[in-house]
Symmetry: C2
Subunit: 197 residues, 2 copies
């Protein structure tokens, strides 16, 4: 299957990471983001949102990194990474929304400003980060993993931009439980990293 990919994107990385953890081989198709190739054919045809990553697996075409995590985990990962039961799915899903909203608009946005020069509101990105990181810290003081007491796609969805936040001035100095959690993720069998993490 093909992943339209940007090496420096945390959203692309979370897909590459899950694939590595469950032993799925990806045909990586690098997309020149800074040149705007994600806004042109063929990517814009596969994803009208003009965003990366995009996954193509036979007939299946998916945008949105959280959706791709659900797909890969459900299709190729058994129930380890994305559970089957209602309460369990709900518990994981809470954090997929957090990844799509607070993490995306917090540490990710701060990094986009500082590292890639995007014209986003840095002050708001820092405010969102300052809101979500203490909540994450508090949760991880009492839990080893975000959901289900085991590693799931909840952790993979949330952790990349938290770990990359320092590239946007969002450090983890005050958040030891978050740091320890990132350390646990890095110890998972099959773990791969990306530049900046």
């Amino acid at each position: 299957m093909k992943l339209y990919d940007l090496e420096l994107s945390g959203n692309c990385y979370k897909v590459r990471l899950l694939a590595a953890l469950i032993g799925v081989e990806l045909d990586i198709e690098p997309v020149d983001f800074l040149d705007g190739a994600h806004k042109r054919l063929p990517v814009i045809d596969l994803n009208p949102f003009g965003e990366l990553p995009v996954l193509v697996d036979g007939e299946v075409v998916l945008r949105d990194s959280q959706a791709i995590l659900v797909y890969l985990a459900r299709q190729y990962g058994g129930h380890q990474w994305w559970p089957d039961g209602a309460a369990q799915q709900g518990e994981v899903m809470q954090w997929l929304s957090t990844a799509a909203n607070e993490i995306f608009n917090g540490p990710n946005a701060a990094r986009l400003v500082d590292k890639f020069g995007l014209a986003l509101d840095k002050e708001r990105a820092l405010a969102v980060s300052a809101h979500i990181l203490p909540l994450l810290e508090q949760h991880l003081q009492r839990n080893e993993w975000l959901a289900l007491d085991r590693p799931t796609i909840a952790d993979l969805a949330v952790f990349p931009y938290v770990a990359l936040g320092w590239e946007g001035g969002v450090t983890l100095d005050e958040y030891p439980a978050i740091q320890a959690w990132i350390g646990r993720i890095k110890q998972l069998p099959g773990y791969i990293d990306m530049p900046g993490i």
Copy 2:
């Protein structure tokens, strides 16, 4: 089961709507949002994020409206509203992320400013709305429903704040396919509305 609820919240409404559509009875517990009751006990204990809705169903406690939709649909709705297969879950999940991000930060944020006086960035809310609504329109010009060619929790997650956007100055005048889709949702057997829709 108990729903900690705010009548005027689109996120609470989407939960009430799914419950009505699948015939689940909710014990509605109104929370005085403007008085800050969601930031105090007992709600803050159930949801440290200090947000509504919160669902309590026996041992299950869930924050985040998208997560609650997944839970209710999986637990009580068969596979009609939230499918079981990997590709199908991925297709729906794309729109749950859109609800958590662009819809939340676009039309919802604009409405929070105009209707409730929250100190959010209205200009950004309008910009996000102007980005997401044409994408939604384009998708709905070719599809009756957001995913799977049938009503799913994708539609229920996205539609409330799109339909409420006019309360924040985000109108649908230029988006006839979105208007027609809202009309289809309103025709679903068991449909209930909320103030403003």
